[in-house]
């Protein structure tokens, strides 16, 4: 039996310990970063396996949306900085031990690959404007010739970006809830699933939508397995880690995590996608919208709940 322990301190008296360090900006950034990673993975994989000729309008729109969404995410992260004038410091050094530093550089590599992939594919809306810039013709010809290599780079960078969004949390040490190697892969699977979901909302081609639905079911299954291994891992590590896991299972975050994320954002869409593939339900854009909402809430729950349990209380 543990002895009864009561802790009081200067800081507790000043109500300083319970303050949350990271607010809404970080989960929004992690969601948008994961979504962009998913878009890059899905479109790059489609180009590599089906050929660039089979890239649908939805995929091309997804590629166009990726840098915009990523910039919104980085804008959100910028808002989170408390010393904004020093934002350039991220790009004056490389700290191999810091995921945030490595992630900043990955983001800088993602943009040119995204833009080259955009140039490599035809865009009915964009082409008249691109034709007015003759200097782009040579770049475009190069991108078209090397579309396979660019898709491979897009796939690799998408995976790196997706994993990074989770490793950013798991490397912190001080937060027991985030202390799991599964988090990087969970965020990768979740990001990929949200990327595919966004494509499903825009996709008009029935066959491609069916392919996306199959991919999403696989990704959701992976996500459920990773969530399971993460929670079981925490529950078997020690009292502090168990306390952190309890927050999600039966604590204050349980309605959002179990109800919205696991049930509404994973199980329900997977069931609806399965029924749709078997012809027992109509394809609805609400199904991928549920996946997107679940992915966003997942990140809010993990970032917020993670900050509620720490090593010291005083």
């Amino acid at each position: 039996m543990h002895p009864h322990i009561e802790i009081d301190s200067t800081r507790l008296a000043a109500h300083l310990v319970a303050e949350r360090v990271w607010g809404w900006e970080v989960p929004v950034y992690l969601f948008l970063g994961g979504l962009v990673a998913g878009l890059m993975i899905a479109v790059s994989a489609a180009i590599l396996t089906l050929g660039k000729e089979r890239a649908t309008k939805a995929m091309r729109l997804g590629l166009l949306a990726a840098p915009v969404l990523l910039s919104l995410g980085m804008g959100s992260l910028f808002l989170d900085l408390t010393y904004k004038l020093h934002v350039f410091r991220f790009y004056t050094t490389v700290v191999p031990s810091a995921p945030m530093s490595l992630g900043s550089w990955v983001l800088m590599l993602v943009y040119p690959v995204q833009l080259a992939l955009i140039l490599a594919l035809p865009h009915s809306m964009l082409d008249p404007y691109l034709a007015r810039v003759p200097q782009l013709a040579a770049v475009r010809a190069w991108a078209e010739r090397n579309v396979g290599a660019l898709a491979l780079a897009g796939l690799g960078l998408g995976v790196a970006l997706g994993i990074y969004t989770g490793v950013l949390l798991s490397a912190t040490v001080a937060r027991p809830l985030w202390s799991s190697g599964a988090l990087g892969f969970l965020f990768l699977a979740s990001g990929s699933s949200t990327g595919v979901a966004l494509l499903m909302i825009a996709e008009r081609d029935h066959a491609m939508n069916a392919l996306f639905a199959k991919a999403d079911i696989v990704l959701i299954t992976l996500e459920l397995l990773l969530i399971g291994s993460w929670i079981v891992g925490l529950a078997t590590q020690g009292p502090l880690y168990r306390e952190a896991a309890t927050l999600l299972i039966k604590g204050p975050y349980a309605p959002a995590f179990v109800g919205v994320v696991v049930f509404g954002g994973l199980l329900v869409p997977a069931a609806l996608e399965t029924l749709s593939l078997r012809g027992k339900a109509l394809h609805s854009r609400w199904t991928p919208a549920l996946v997107l909402a679940g992915g966003l809430i997942l990140r809010f729950v993990i970032v917020y709940a993670g900050q509620d349990v720490g090593f010291v209380t005083g």
Binding site: P3, H4, I5, E6, I7, D8, S9, T10, R11, A14, L16, V17, V21, W22, L77, D80, L81, T82, Y83, K84, H86, V87, R89, F90, T92, T93, V95, S97, A98, P99, M100, S101, S104, A171, T172, V173, A174, R175, G238, L240, Q307, G310, F311, V312, G314
Partner: protein
């Protein structure tokens, strides 16, 4: 040189003079603390034990705040202490999320700050502000590489412990009971 602090919890009376001295010496902004006193009561009445700890940044040898700082603003000084270069800090607060002890805070200007172990005073041969005002001499600062230093002697004399050793950070602030 490996600077460390050893606090004799048997001498501490919880007067919080160390907290006030630190705030004055380092102009710590209102609402933030570089050090604080924790009062831990263990057991059940009538078998109670009270432990008073003057806590601060542990200047860990394996500091996650240093490894997770994306711009190198948190760094190890040559004497083993952990410091923050405010000219590099972006205020991303990855170090606040990485510190198991919650020893860091954001200044009103936006950069992160914490206990420096008063290295500006130590370099001049003076004691740290908290050490100087401690009325019971509970706080000792010195070089662990010097076997004759007060910190080495205290660590040899009694049972010492660190806060949250399970975090694996190898703190350099020790508590003797």
């Amino acid at each position: 040189m490996r600077r460390a602090m050893v606090i004799d919890t048997r001498r501490c009376v919880g007067c919080e003079a160390c907290v006030v001295a630190c705030k004055t010496e380092n102009r710590v902004p209102e609402g933030s603390y570089r050090d604080w006193v924790t009062q831990e009561t263990r057991g059940e009445y009538p078998s109670l034990e009270l432990i008073l700890r003057s806590q601060r940044c542990n200047h860990c040898s394996n500091a996650p705040c240093v490894s997770n700082c994306p711009v190198g603003a948190s760094f190890y000084r040559g004497d083993g202490t952990v410091q923050v270069d405010r000219d590099l800090c972006t205020g991303c607060r990855a170090c606040l999320e990485s510190c198991p002890y919650g020893a860091r805070y954001v200044t009103p200007e936006g950069f992160v700050d914490k206990c420096t172990l008063c290295v500006h005073r130590l370099d001049e041969g003076k004691p740290t502000a908290c050490q100087e005002v401690c009325p019971t001499g509970a706080i000792a600062v010195g070089d662990l590489d010097d076997p004759t230093s007060l910190v080495s002697l205290r660590l040899r004399r009694g049972d010492s412990s660190v806060v949250a050793p399970e975090a694996g950070t190898h703190p350099n602030v020790y508590y003797v009971r």
